[in-house]
């Protein structure tokens, strides 16, 4: 790797810090944290997180309060997301899942921390890497796996597939296939919240690959002009498909790209840092207007299942991320070092979740395919008894 790439890789491998300070090597998260032993579910644990980088705003505090119950829930949810993505990988390789499949493993902390700071009244819209977003918004593993396999008991009745999962009752507006198209939509969701004066925020998520698109800056402008309660969350996993962030952007400091809009850079591999930052940002956004949150995160898989993920980055980089910054390992060490759970209990939880995911996969495999009339349902308000041509000229289907 040449000098700049090496420096960047080191910076990523260690942590996100204030831009001016030098990278700290071999940092183990457990060493920096001063914690109090907590033995029951609700007593508070104080955990120190890495300082935030900020732009036009004061930094949130770096001490986060958490409880054993919360940490356990973080662990379970992230582990469930991880196993689900692994199962999706295996199902794709066994050809049960076809088409596009963009996996989220490595980035779980972003969603889990965000959901801890939000409610289901806040709206979320995200990109095509949305399997875990659906899970975080109250969906089940079965819904996701069935949707991936195109079955009728999937999240969107088997009609949407990997990139189009919705849960409108929990204000999850998908899953969008076009890169960056969801950002102006998210600004619109924020407009709706402001219009209704319901005190909620809209979170619109995009990646470093989309961050240079024009409509995003238009959305910034309008959101800032009208003080919309929008959190623009840039999930910076450092590679837009195969292009490293510093190769595609003049300024890879995405939290500053809003210029007049304040921004915070958060360590996206630390669920507690995310929770803290998002809570702070939500408070700010409801009161003042839009804010950008850059999540410094990493994906272990390639961009999608067609991408091996090793042609533009080394395997060493991926494995060092797994060892040094893995979000699930971080929570696991917190739990173990503070004696909240022991190894056997954690193993039990893991086994149960593995079983849950496996049975969801089996159930999804056995699920029914959508009925034929779903091909034209919800397209016409009134079908007027039209006939639709089938696969060949002999077949005519009456629309119902």
């Amino acid at each position: 790797m040449h000098g700049r790439a090496l420096a960047n890789a080191l910076r990523r491998a260690t942590s996100s810090r204030a831009e001016s300070s030098a990278p700290v090597l071999n940092r183990l998260w457990s060493r920096n944290q001063q914690t109090q032993a907590a033995s029951d579910d609700s007593s508070l644990l104080e955990v120190d997180v890495v300082p935030y980088s900020t732009h036009r705003i004061d930094s949130p505090g770096t001490t986060v309060n958490t409880t054993k119950a919360e940490l356990q829930q973080f662990f379970e949810t992230m582990y469930r997301m991880r196993r689900m993505e692994i199962a999706a990988d295996m199902m794709y390789k066994a050809k049960y899942i076809r088409g596009f499949c963009h996996l989220y493993d490595g980035q779980e902390a972003v969603l889990v921390g965000m959901e801890a700071a939000l409610t289901f009244k806040d709206s979320i819209i995200t990109s095509y890497r949305d399997h875990c977003t659906h899970l975080g918004r109250g969906g089940s593993v079965l819904e996701v796996m069935a949707e991936l396999m195109g079955k009728a008991n999937g999240a969107t009745k088997g009609l949407g597939g990997s990139m189009h999962m919705y849960k409108v009752e929990n204000h999850f507006y998908g899953g969008c296939g076009i890169v960056g198209a969801q950002v102006p939509l998210g600004a619109g969701l924020g407009f709706a919240h402001k219009y209704r004066k319901d005190g909620s925020v809209a979170i619109t998520m995009y990646g470093d690959g989309a961050a240079n698109q024009g409509q995003i800056f238009e959305a910034f402008n309008m959101a800032a002009l009208w003080d919309l309660p929008v959190l623009f969350v840039c999930e910076n996993n450092h590679y837009g498909m195969g292009t490293a962030d510093y190769r595609g952007a003049k300024s890879a400091k995405y939290f500053t790209r809003g210029d007049y809009m304040p921004g915070i850079k958060i360590d996206g591999m630390d669920a507690l840092a995310v929770k803290n930052g998002v809570a702070y940002a939500k408070e700010y956004a409801v009161a003042n207007g839009p804010i950008i949150l850059e999540m410094d995160t990493y994906r272990y898989h390639g961009h999608s299942m067609s991408d091996p993920g090793s042609t533009y980055r080394t395997r060493d980089e991926i494995s060092s991320m797994r060892q040094l910054r893995d979000p699930i390992e971080r929570i696991r060490s917190l739990l173990l070092n503070n004696e909240l759970l022991d190894t056997a209990e954690l193993k039990k939880i893991e086994k149960a979740i593995k079983k849950e995911v496996d049975s969801a996969v089996e159930e999804a495999k056995a699920g029914p395919l959508p009925k034929e009339e779903m091909l034209w349902k919800n397209i016409y308000k009134d079908t007027l008894g039209m006939h639709m041509r089938g696969r060949d000229s002999k077949t005519k289907i009456k629309l119902t």
Partner: protein, 455 residues
């Protein structure tokens, strides 16, 4: 076998990167898999230990879904799989194992389906049989009832009969077809030897069955003459494939001109032995290389190649002579560059070194690609004379035979001489008769007066 690309239906397992007992983590590369597009690395997603590898390195054409390995969670479980075979069910420890049982269920059901097929009711064959199929039927002694028809309207096709012959199906013992065979042995069998039937490896079988049916018209002979002799297929390595292709190209596309001469190597043998006494061991081949190099310099027209793209003669910049070396992988021709500037000793050393590196497969591409002239020497194998095939893009190859003692008339008396026969195969587009004879003359004069080689 994972589908590493959406269009993949089967893959080749190029090589394993883990072995039994290894601990694997997410991100560990398990194997290199050759897909329909490229060779990709197969990454592991689960923590665990490798308990058994179910396929070997180099296994080809494995369908997607074929079980490749067993992964277990606990290290202790590894030994339980030591004798595991995919068809039997071992201890179920990990989820991966369960998934593989799923995959195994699929191949086992297809296996049982295949076994059920012979129990299907036999389709009555159509009485229309084409002439080729009919001929084969009679020739092999089978009857129409023995064969599964696969043609339209249940017609027996020639390939059906061939398949039945190959599988060695025994003919039925009904009397009717035997009589039919008996009644037309002579007129049918005459045209048979002229046909190139793949199921007729032995014409002697025809004649023997003919003789037998002549002898005993009462008892029909049912000799299935179409039984295949056992054979083995030797798969072609990549190198051999390329050699085969190039030889074919050369023979088809290059107009070969063959010129032959005998050279008296008496003086050369003397010089060799005198040099040997002084401690310098040179082979006849070294002398030949030097003689060729000097001859190429003396006849500059000869040191040229045919430029296929420009369709014209391209003069060689320097005299690079290639030597044919036999390795166990195939024939390769390392080049002695600027052979005319090198002395006999240098040539000898270089040829030895190139040959040993060629056998060890350590030649660099520019060491065997290029050149204008090749020498192929089969003299040590007892060959007197042979013609070689040109090595494109070179223009000539010289085939050197072994030393022969001959008696000739010299000044009215018998004299014993030692001769070698050299045979040039030249590209007639580059070398015409004049060039080739000029070259041969120069070469022979060089070889017959080896003192010239020392200049």
């Amino acid at each position: 076998m994972p589908a590493l690309s959406p269009t993949m239906s089967q893959g080749n397992l190029t090589s394993w990167k883990v072995k039994v007992g290894d601990e694997v983590a997410p991100g560990t590369v398990l194997a290199e898999i050759e897909t329909d597009k490229a060779t990709l690395e197969w990454e592991n997603q689960d923590d665990g230990f490798i308990a058994k590898l179910l396929q070997e390195d180099g296994a080809r054409d494995l369908a997607v879904g074929t079980p490749l390995a067993v992964l277990v969670e606990e290290e202790e479980s590894v030994s339980a799989f030591a004798d595991y075979r995919p068809s039997s069910s071992g201890g179920q420890e990990s989820q991966r194992e369960q998934q593989q049982q799923q995959d195994q269920a699929q191949p086992s059901t297809t296996g049982s389906e295949a076994k059920q097929e012979p129990a299907k009711p036999k389709v009555q064959a159509n009485s229309r049989i084409g002439p080729a199929a009919r001929l084969l039927l009679e020739h092999s002694g089978l009857s129409a009832n023995d064969i599964d028809p696969t043609g339209p309207n249940s017609i027996i096709t020639k390939s059906d009969v061939l398949k039945a012959i190959e599988s060695g199906s025994k003919p039925s013992t009904s009397a009717k077809p035997q009589e039919a065979k008996q009644s037309q042995p002579q007129p049918q069998e005459k045209p048979q030897p002229s046909k190139a039937e793949p199921a007729a490896p032995s014409k002697s079988d025809d004649s023997s069955s003919r003789a037998k049916s002549d002898e005993s018209s009462q008892q029909p002979q049912q000799k299935p003459a179409g039984k295949q002799q056992p054979y083995t297929d030797v798969p072609n390595s990549q190198i051999r494939k390329i050699i085969a292709q190039r030889l074919l190209d050369s023979k088809q596309k290059i107009p070969h001109l063959y010129v032959r001469a005998d050279a008296d190597i008496g003086k050369l043998t003397e010089m060799r032995s005198s040099l040997k006494e002084q401690g310098m061991k040179l082979s006849v081949n070294d002398f030949i290389v030097r003689a060729v190099a000097l001859a190429l310099k003396q006849v500059p027209n000869a040191n040229a190649a045919w430029d296929d793209k420009a369709e014209q003669v391209r003069a060689g910049a320097s005299v690079d002579v290639a030597i044919a070396v036999a390795t166990d992988k195939g024939l390769i021709t390392p080049i002695v560059k600027a052979a005319d500037t090198k002395s006999l000793q240098q040539i000898s050393k270089e040829v030895k070194e190139l040959a040993s590196r060629a056998r060890a497969n350590k030649l660099k591409p520019d060491e065997f690609q290029g050149g204008t002239f090749s020498i192929s020497n089969l003299g040590m194998f007892g060959v007197d004379f042979f013609s070689a095939i040109i090595n494109p893009p070179q223009a000539c190859i010289m085939a050197v035979g072994g030393t022969r003692k001959r008696v000739i008339m010299q000044q009215g008396a018998l004299a014993e001489k030692q001769f070698i026969t050299v045979s040039l195969s030249a590209d007639n587009r580059v070398w015409d008769g004049e060039t080739s004879s000029a070259f041969l003359n120069a070469f022979c004069s060089n070889i017959q007066n080896p003192v010239k080689l020392l200049l």
